[in-house]
Subunit: 235 residues, 2 copies
């Protein structure tokens, strides 16, 4: 409230794209949001850039503003296991608020930008804005719920069902509406990694769905024509 007239508001206005929304800011006043944004820094991110590495001390809290990233976890056999997309408005690096290392690796999958807070700023902010703390922990609960879902999927669903699930999820999260369906950029390889099936199983299944007219494939792109059909597929 004391900061109300400060020039930081101008800085924050440039930081966020118009129409930007994040659950992190839910229930905060415009003034509060400006203060929170002003306390952080903005950083451009590039494709394949690693933003946090599992096991490293958690030093920064992030908010994805534009672009796309993903949570990964390295497995003991050297592969990296896809966990979840990070889309604009999502918060990550929550470990920063506790004295624990990052649990997962976050890697950008296309260029974009993030807001970053260092450890001290982040801790000061949640102390000053109780609602912000609530929002951070809500985000954590969402991740918990998503992980449980992923575990259930991996445990009790077939490769086909998991692929269907991932297509529907992708359509919702990263899809663009077209007159004849929902289109999104996704290589077979990435889809396979998301659903945790082999590249060949993915290719095989997509071919079958294409021949049934449920979707159309092109290089690096999928046009989902009847998502309903897939939804019924994976219950």
């Amino acid at each position: 409230m004391i900061d109300e007239g400060k020039p930081v508001s101008a800085a924050s206005a440039t930081a966020l794209p118009p129409g930007f929304r994040s659950s992190l800011f839910e229930g905060l006043t415009h003034t509060e949001i400006e203060a929170v944004v002003a306390a952080g820094g903005q950083r451009r991110i590039f494709s394949n850039q690693v933003l946090q590495q599992e096991g490293d001390p958690a030093t920064h809290l992030f908010l994805l503003v534009t672009g796309r990233a993903a949570f990964y976890k390295h497995t003991s056999d050297g592969r990296k296991l896809f966990l979840q997309w990070i889309v604009p408005g999502d918060t990550f690096g929550l470990s920063t608020l506790q004295r624990v290392p990052y649990l997962t690796t976050v890697q950008a999958v296309r260029e974009g930008s993030v807001l970053v807070w260092d450890r001290d700023s982040a801790r000061a902010l949640v102390r000053q804005h109780p609602r912000l703390r609530e929002n951070v922990y809500s985000a954590m609960t969402c991740y918990l719920a998503a992980l449980i879902d992923a575990l259930v999927a991996r445990t009790s669903q077939t490769a086909q069902q998991r692929l269907a699930r991932m297509l529907v999820e992708s359509a919702r999260q990263i899809g663009r509406a077209r007159h004849d369906g929902i289109e999104f950029d996704l290589t077979n390889e990435r889809l396979a990694e998301m659903a945790d099936v082999s590249l060949f199983t993915a290719s095989h299944q997509l071919s079958e769905w294409q021949s049934r007219g449920i979707l159309t494939k092109s290089r690096g792109k999928i046009l989902l024509r009847s998502p309903e059909h897939l939804v019924s597929h994976h219950f």
Copy 2:
């Protein structure tokens, strides 16, 4: 501090068994712990009793004092998926601190007792004791980490490796030291459910390990002779 001389301290002394420790109380003063315990109620729990049901509104925060329970998640195909043991000192029902339904089902697997706080008490307590709030969210982070581990295990490990992992985990969590190894109560069926393998795969693998002298089976019990051998097994 105002409550210091109140008779509630006597009540709390009866509530907790001697030597009881919980990460929930980490860093709290003895007086604070007494106040927190006094604000809650104690309840006996019985084998197979359901303490919270996924999807129900979260009304109570629990701390397991004695006995054993487990987190489960119902799958869409009607089975229940084992997630994790709950042992004395563990906190559950964390959703109570947020306005969301329980994410998982918790069921007692043997009789014991819990401390329970209702929604309002729980929220008041974390407001009064910042360290308590921290501890609650640390617990959440632990669950997150455990879930990620479970997902990695289910995704990148063989049935054999998962069984080995569960035996080692069980030895640590619910095992009793013997001169010739670590013994714990576990039926094949429950072990199978934990490792998410079929009953027959579990039986098969245990037989092999028994013939190699790594463990000894008896009805409902396992005596783990050389855990090291299993540890090396699941990397």
